[in-house]
């Protein structure tokens, strides 16, 4: 013990300081009310509850500018936006823009509006908010299918329309005040899952902001899938479409025969 080298002592000291520095930042602990959502025949949409706590390492210091942002994002897929134009008095789908990587679901809930939570550059860098998501290179086409170049503001109108459409379908949402603190550390958020959600792997990401800077992030998976008879029918229709179609038609023919047999009896 006497021969304890000074360099070791120095090293231990460094570790302690580093560890203290690491724990000084606040940390998140979160969980979801469900990690799986089953779409069954009675599915009419649901709500997931996300709850968590901020483990403050600086006890006593009142958290003033502390914000929580929750982002729940669904599987990406290509999406096409079409604009109607009047052709000979009739409204016809005319120009279209296809985006290769559009989230099928995107919900933001935050303690305060995003604008006051963090500066726009931070939000952009973190891809928080549907406007900041990277959706890939847009591909514009005219009515006859030929590629065409659009002015940025024209293309932006398509992108805005996509957001507007999906907001109408409740697939995209932004709820300032959707995260509420229960006391100093505990918080909860409810996120609305409408009936028309796409199936697949979702992620629920929680960001902890302190004075407009991200202090901690935590991400949990959420799986939404058809279950039971819904899953069975959907899979049969897609993996054995010929058999499925034949069964559907034979079933209908049988029903028709049954009806005529019943009619003859009465």
């Amino acid at each position: 013990m006497k021969t304890f080298p000074t360099y070791r002592l120095a090293l231990a000291l460094v570790f302690v300081v580093l560890a203290a520095g690491a724990v000084r930042a606040d940390q998140l602990v979160t969980d979801l009310s469900a990690h799986q959502i089953a779409i069954r025949s009675n599915f009419t949409g649901t709500e997931i509850l996300l709850f968590g706590a901020v483990e403050a390492r600086t006890p006593g210091a009142r958290a003033i500018n502390r914000d929580i942002v929750v982002v729940v994002q669904g599987p990406n897929a290509p999406a096409m936006v079409r604009r109607k134009d009047r052709v000979g008095g009739v409204w016809v789908n005319h120009d279209s823009v296809t985006y290769p990587d559009v989230p099928g679901y995107y919900a933001v809930a935050s303690t305060r509006p995003l604008e006051v939570t963090a500066p726009p550059e931070t939000l952009k860098a973190l891809r928080i908010g549907i406007e900041n998501v990277d959706i890939g290179v847009a591909e514009a086409r005219a009515i006859d299918g030929t590629a065409q170049a659009l002015m940025p503001e024209q293309e932006n109108a398509f992108w805005k329309a996509l957001i507007r459409n999906r907001q109408r379908d409740r697939l995209y949402s932004n709820v300032p005040g959707g995260v509420t603190f229960l006391g100093q550390t505990l918080f909860r958020a409810t996120v609305d899952i409408p009936a028309n959600v796409p199936v697949g792997l979702y992620t629920a990401k929680v960001y902890l902001f302190q004075d407009g800077e991200v202090v901690d992030t935590i991400s949990s998976p959420l799986y939404i899938d058809k279950r039971g008879i819904e899953r069975f029918i959907y899979r049969a229709a897609h993996s054995d479409p010929l058999l499925y179609g034949l069964l559907a038609v034979l079933g209908a023919a049988f029903a028709g025969w049954l009806a005529s047999a019943a009619m003859r009896r009465t």
Partner: protein, 307 residues
């Protein structure tokens, strides 16, 4: 009571669908029509994707036309030979229709074409039926018997490939029935209808078949053509929703029973005028939607993988 449709991927109210099936079944029993041309627009108004509405509706038409064909089979009022010729045209028409449906879906014009075809047929047929039934009602009141169709020879008799149809007492070329079948098969694939409302007038006025075999023969053709259409919509577009189809069939079967009974108590001319008014109204509504500025000019579609 809500139920989630696995293929349409949306929840619907079971009672709404049953009521719609029942109402359309009632009308179809009352007027002796398939009812597909009423059901497909209703399903689309409800928010069911057009492809699923058309594909699923064709299974419902299979059910109702099997019932109809069996009734006529027992009465021996089917011309199988003529039905077979119509069927040949129908099969080719249905396959072409499915192909056209896919192309139109890909270029984003399927909704427009479905609406346009509906507006065209509903208004033309509705107007024709209205004129005819009003004339019949007037004639009945005035005691004047409307002129019967004459037995004069038409251009159809100049066509080659003649064939004898004993049951219909006809000796005509196979080209007109094949074309009629083709046209109806195509409509079946695009509109999700049986096509009886086109085929029956065509058989009476164009082919000059005797009226007692017309309905049975058309049912015979419709059974097979819509069965093919249904299978192909399931195979190529994954667009047949069994749950929705089941609900429609149940509602339709029950509704049709009451429709048949109601028809026996009501005068047929007035009934036809009523059906004509319904057709015109639906046609008008669809046409109105085509020309009024939509709430949002932009629409979003998932780029789903198609076969």
């Amino acid at each position: 009571m809500q139920i989630y449709l696995p293929i349409a991927e949306m929840p619907v109210n079971v009672l709404t669908i049953l009521a719609m099936g029942g109402a359309v079944g009632f009308l179809s029993g009352m007027f002796g029509v398939g009812g597909g041309f009423l059901m497909t627009p209703l399903l689309i108004f409800l928010g069911i994707p057009p492809a699923v509405a058309v594909g699923t509706q064709s299974t419902q038409v299979v059910a109702s036309s099997v019932t109809g064909a069996l009734a006529h089979f027992t009465r021996k009022s089917i011309d199988f030979k003529m039905g077979g010729i119509l069927l040949i045209g129908g099969v080719v028409g249905s396959i072409s229709g499915i192909y056209l449906f896919r192309v139109l879906t890909r270029i984003g014009q399927i909704d427009l074409v479905i609406s346009l075809v509906y507006v065209l047929f509903l208004s033309v047929i509705g107007a024709m039926m209205m004129v005819e039934s009003v004339r019949a009602i007037r004639a009945a009141r005035g005691g004047v018997i409307p002129a019967r169709r004459g037995g004069h020879h038409s251009w159809i008799h100049g066509l080659p490939f003649k064939m004898r149809f004993r049951r219909s007492k006809l000796y005509i070329s196979v080209i007109p029935p094949i074309l009629v079948g083709f046209f109806v098969g195509m409509l079946s694939a695009i509109m999700g209808v049986g096509g009886g409302f086109i085929m029956i007038p065509a058989m009476i006025y164009l082919l000059r078949m005797p009226t007692n075999v017309v309905i049975g023969t058309s049912f015979f053709q419709i059974v097979f053509v819509t069965a093919l259409t249904g299978v192909m919509h399931a195979y190529t577009n994954f667009a047949v929703d069994i749950v929705l189809g089941f609900l429609l069939v149940i509602g339709g079967v029950i509704g049709a029973q009451y429709g048949v009974r109601a028809a026996e108590k009501l005068p047929s001319e007035q009934l036809r005028a009523l059906l004509a008014a319904i057709l015109l109204l639906i046609g008008l509504r669809l046409g109105f939607d085509l020309v009024t500025t939509p709430d949002d000019l932009y629409s979003v579609v998932d780029v789903a993988p198609h076969r």
